[in-house]
Symmetry: D2
C-alpha cells in the first residue's frame, strides 16, 4: 500500500508557498491539492510562479474553508494574524502546518511586546532538533514552523548550550540574509536596484520579532543562565540564504577549539539535516541553496573568551518550507527525511 | 527487479562534474562510483564541493583507466582534448557521455578552424530534441553532449526552422550567461569583484567555439537555406543561467505572432523539457535554476521582418549535466525524464 | 568672474533625479536650488537619498511653478506626460532639460503608436554626438534628453552609419540592462528577490518605446537605407549599466575588422565621452559605472556578413543625467565636459 | 600660486592602486606620475584598468627606486612585506603613504603573532578621526593607512569609547564585505561563480589579521578597560563595501537610545567624513559607494545590555585609497577634504 496525502497550500503564490510546492512535488506521498492566494485568485499558477512547471495550469483559488476542506494536510503561508481563523475552520483532525508567526511564542507578553496584537496561542514548535521536540511533533495536528532566523541561530547554538560550552547569556547573533525572507512585499527597500551591490542592517537593537523566539529556543535547548541576546539581521544581495555568526561567552575559558568541535560532533551525530563541516571549513550559503541542510562550524576565540559558531541554510528551504515538510513527516509518522533534498544547487 | 547502474564521473570536482553528481544522486537507477579529478586527487569531496553532502567523505581519485574501469556509465567532464584517450581505454561496451567539445562537430574543417587542433571524430550528438536524434541516441555507447549555448539557441530556434517560419539564414543570437559555464578557471575576468555589477561581451565577431555547433544544429533542424549566424555571448552577474535572444528573418513577412506561436506549440507538443510559456510571458533564468527545463517564448516583429525567440535554461543542468543524464536515459532505454528535475529553484 | 547657475531638479527623489544631483554637486558652475518630488514632499532628502550627503538636510518640495521659478536651469525627471505643462509655466528663457520621453520623437505617428497619447511636440534632441547636433543644442532653451537604450545603441552604431560601413537596414540590438532604468517603481518583477540571479527579456518584438527613437537616430546619423530595427532589452542582475550588442549587415562584405576599426577611430577622434577601446578589448559596464563615458568596440563577422559593435555605459550617467548635464553645458556655452566624470568606479 | 604635487603609485594595477588613481585624477593639486606594477609591467594601463580612461595610454613600469624617484608623494599598494625596502630607498623627505599592513601595528608581538614575520616598525597611523591623530599626521612623511575592517569598526565605535558609553571590553564585530578587499588574487573562493548568491564567513575565531589593529584602535580611542574583541568577517556578493555591526556592553545599563545617539552626535560634530544618519535610519553600503564618507547609526539594546553601532563605508575609498588621500592632505597641510568625494554612487 502506498500512502497518498492530499495537501493544500494556503498562500501558494508567495515565496514560502512556492517553495512548499517545489518540495511537495518531489515528495513520494503527496498529491498537491488546492492552491490558494489572495491578489492572484483566478490566475494560472504558471503566470505567477513559472518555476513550478508541473503546476503551470493549476488555477489559484481563494483562501476559504470550502476550498481548503477535504485535505489531509494544509500548509499555511499567510500574513501574520490570519492563521487562527483558517485553522479553526479546518477542524482538529487535519494536520495544519503554519509557516507564519502566530503560534510560535509561548509567552503572551513577549508576543504582545513584539507583534503588538493579542496572542493567538501556542502550537507545537516545529524545530525537531530541539531536545525532546521530535516526541512533541509526533502525531500532532498543529505545527508552528519557526522563523528563518531562529532556525539558523538555534541550530548554530543548541549544541553549545546542550553540551555546556555556553550557558545562554550574552549571546550575539549577526545574520546576513537575502530578501526572499521578506516575501514579495512591494516595498522600496526591497527593489533590486536598492539591494544589488548593497548591504544594510535593519531591525537593530533588539526590536526584530525573531528576537524573543531565539531566546525561547535557547531556553528550550537547556540554557543554564537566563538567556540574553543581541540580534542584528543584515540584508545582503542574494535572493536566498542566511549566514548567521553566533557568539557567546565560554563557560570554560580554557576550552580548546578541538574540544568545542568534539562537543558539536557528539551533539549532532544523529541529526539528518545538520551537518558539521570538517574542522576548519566554514559554511557558505551557496552550498545549501535549495537543500534542507544546515551547515555548521564552530571554534573558540580564547582572547575574546567567546565561542563562535556559524551556520548557513536556505531561508526558504530548511528555514521555512523544508522545515515545514520535515515536521509534516514527523507528525504523520513518516521517516523524517522523506522527500527532502540533501544536496545544494551550487555554484 | 530494479536496475542499478554503476556510474563514474571523470572531472567530478568541476562545476559540470558537481552538477552531474547532484543529479545522479537523485536518479533512481544510479549508484555513484568513482569520482576522479586532477589537482584535487586525494581530497575529500566535501572539501571541494561542500554542497554534495551525501558524498562528503568520498575521496577524489586520479583519472586513470583502472579507476574508471568496472562502471556501466562514465561521464567525462574533462578539458578539451582529453576525452578520446579515456574513452578508448574504457572499451566499446561502456556508455561514455562526454560533456566536452571533442566529438560534437561533424566537419573536421570547422573543428580545426575553431579549436586549432586535429579533429578527434564525431559521436552521436546529445540533443534529443533535434529531429530523429532520439533514435540515434537509443542504444548508443557514445554521446557528445552539446555546448550550453548551442543547446539554448537550438532549442529556441528549431521549432521555427522545422516549422518553416525561418529558413536558417542571417540568424542573430545574443546570449547572456553566468560564469559557471567557464568552469573554475582561475582567470582575472572571472573574479567576483570583476563580474558583480558588470556585463561584458566576449568571443565577439563569429569567433566563439560554439558558433559552428549552432550552425550545424540549424542544418540538422532542417534549415532550407545555408545557415549563417552572428553569435555574441555576454557575461552577466549571476552564477548560473543562459538567456538567449534569437532572431531570424521571417520566411513569410505577413505571419502573425499568433501563427508563429501556434507553430511553436505544435512542434513542442511532445517535448518533456521544452516549455513554451503562455503567450506574452517571457522567460527568466531564475525559473529554471537547477531544473532540466528550457522555457521559451516567441513573437514576430513585422516592422523588422524578424522572428524573435527567447530561451532560458540553466547552463549546468539542461545546458550540460541534465542534458547528459537525459542522453544516458535514452541510450540505456530508460524513460527519458527519469531522475531529472522539472521544477526550478526560485526566487 | 565666476558664473553660477541656479539649478532646480523636478523629480529629485527618483533615480534619474538623484544622479542629476550627484553630478550637479560636482559642477563648478552650479548652485543646487529647488528639489521637488511627489510622494515624498516634506521629507528630508537624506531620508530618501542618503547617498547625497551634502544635501541631506534639504527638504523635498512640491513640483509647482512657484517652487521652480527663479532658476536658470530646470531639469525635469518626471513621469511621461508631465513635462509640457511644467515647461510652459517656466517661460521660454529658462533652460529646461527634460529627461523624460515627451519631446524626443519627431514623428507624431510614431509617438502615438508607441506611447498611446497625443504628441506633445519635439524639442532639440540631446545627443551631441549625432551629426550637427552640437550646433542645434548651442543656445537652446529646451532639450529632450534621449532614452538610455537609444543613447547606447546610437553611440555604438553612428560611426558605422556615418562611415558607410552599414546602411541602417536590418539592425539587430540586444541590450542587457540593470533595473535602475525602470526607476523606483514598486512592481513585482523589479524586486530584488526576482532580479538577483536572473536574466529576463521584456518588451520583445519591436514594442519597446525606445524602438522608434533608435530608428530616428539611425536616420539622423545618415542611414542610406530606410532603417529597420529588431530591439530586445534584457534585464540582468546589476543596479546600473547597459551593454548593447548591435549588429547590422555589412555594406561591403569584404571589409576587414581592421578597416572597420579604423572607420570608428576616425569618426570618434573628437568625441570626449565616446572611447573606442584598443582593438580586441571588449567593453564591460563596470568600467563606466558613474562616469559619463561610453566605451565601444567593433569588429566584422564575415561569415555572418555583419558588423558587430558593442557599447557599455551607465544608464543613469551618460544614459540619462550625465547626458543631460552635457547638454546643459552646450546650451549655455560652457565647455561640453565641464563637471562630468571621465573615470568609472571599478571594480 | 597653485601647488602641484607629483604623485606616484606603486602597485597601480591592483584594486587599491586603481582606486588611488581614480581619486588622484580628481585632486586639484595632483599630477599623476609613475605607475608601477609587477606582472603587468609594460602593459598600457587601459588594458588592465579600463575605467581609468584619462590614463589609458600610460604604461605600467617596474617598482624600482629609479622609477619612483622624483615624486613628492609615493603611495604604496604592495604585498605585505614589500613596503620597507621601497620606502627606505625613497629617502626621508618624500611623503610615503603605505596602504599595506607593514607599519600599522605598534606591538611587535602582535605583529609576529598575526603576520608570522619580523616587525618592520611603526609609522604614524592614518586614521585622522582617532583622538589627537590629526596632529600626529600633520607634516609627517610616513603614513600607515589602516586596514579596511579596522577603519570601519573603529569609526563605528570610537564615539562610544570616547564618550564613555562603553569601556572597550567584550566588543563583538561582524562585518559583511565585498571581495575587492582581497585584491585581484586568483583564488578559487574569489571566483564570481562562487561568490554570487552566497555569503560565507572566514578568518573566524580571532585569527583575522585585522583583529589586533582594531584592539589597538579601541585603546587609542580611550578604552578604560583592556579591550577584547570577537571579530568575524563575512564575504557577501557585492564588489565593494563593508557593513560592520558592532556591539559592546553598556557602561550604564540604563542609558537610553536617545542619550547614546546624542553622545555620537557630539563626538562627530566636526568630522567631515563620518556622517551620523538621522535617528532610526540605518546605513547601507550603496549610499557610500565610491565616496569617502562612512555612515553610522547607533542604538541601545537594553534587554541585551549592549550598545549596537552599525557603520557602512566603501572598503576601497574611505577604507583604503580615500583614507590614504585624506592622510596625504593632512600630511601636506592641505584642507583635509581636498579632492575627496562626499557623494555616493547610488543606486
Amino acid at each position: 500500500m502506498h500512502m497518498v496525502l492530499k495537501v493544500a497550500v494556503a498562500g501558494a503564490t508567495g515565496y514560502a508557498g512556492g517553495e512548499l510546492l517545489r518540495l511537495l512535488l518531489s515528495h513520494p506521498h503527496v498529491e498537491v491539492g488546492a492552491l490558494t492566494g489572495s491578489s492572484s485568485v483566478g490566475a494560472r499558477l504558471g503566470e505567477v510562479s513559472p518555476h513550478l512547471t508541473p503546476l503551470a495550469d493549476r488555477v489559484v483559488e481563494a483562501t476559504t474553508p470550502d476550498v481548503l476542506a477535504g485535505h489531509d494536510v494544509v500548509f499555511l503561508a499567510l500574513p501574520h494574524g490570519a492563521s487562527a481563523a483558517v485553522a479553526e475552520a479546518l477542524g482538529p483532525d487535519v494536520l495544519v502546518v503554519d509557516c507564519g508567526a502566530d503560534f510560535r511564542l509561548v509567552d503572551p507578553a513577549a508576543w504582545e511586546q513584539f507583534y503588538g496584537s493579542p496572542h493567538a496561542g501556542t502550537w507545537p514548535y516545529g524545530l525537531p532538533e530541539l531536545p525532546g521536540q521530535r516526541d512533541v511533533l509526533k502525531g500532532t495536528t498543529r505545527v508552528a514552523v519557526p522563523g528563518c532566523y531562529p532556525t539558523t541561530a538555534t541550530l548554530a547554538l543548541f549544541p553549545a548550550v546542550r553540551g555546556g560550552l555556553v550557558d545562554g547569556h550574552d549571546v550575539v547573533v549577526v545574520a546576513a540574509s537575502g530578501p526572499s525572507g521578506a516575501g514579495k512585499s512591494l516595498k522600496p527597500h526591497l527593489l533590486g536596484a536598492e539591494l544589488m551591490g548593497s548591504a544594510s542592517a535593519y531591525g537593530v537593537g533588539g526590536v526584530h520579532r525573531h528576537t524573543p523566539e531565539i531566546v525561547q529556543n535557547l531556553r528550550a535547548a537547556g540554557a543554564t543562565a537566563a538567556p540574553t541576546l543581541s540580534f542584528t539581521p543584515v540584508l545582503v544581495p542574494m535572493s536566498r540564504g542566511i549566514l548567521a555568526t553566533c557568539t557567546a561567552p565560554l563557560a570554560d575559558p580554557d576550552v580548546t577549539p578541538e574540544a568545542a568541535y568534539a562537543v558539536y560532533a557528539e551533539q549532532l551525530v544523529d541529526e539528518p539535516f545538520v551537518q558539521l563541516l570538517a574542522q576548519g571549513q566554514w559554511p557558505q550559503t551557496q552550498s545549501v541553496l535549495g537543500s534542507n541542510v544546515v551547515q555548521l562550524q564552530v571554534t573558540v576565540d580564547r582572547a575574546a573568551g567567546r565561542l563562535v559558531a556559524v551556520a548557513a541554510l536556505d531561508n526558504l528551504t530548511k528555514g521555512t518550507a523544508g522545515g515545514a515538510v520535515q515536521c509534516m513527516n514527523l507528525a504523520l509518522g513518516l521517516p523524517e527525511t522523506t522527500g527532502l533534498p540533501l544536496v545544494g544547487v551550487a555554484p
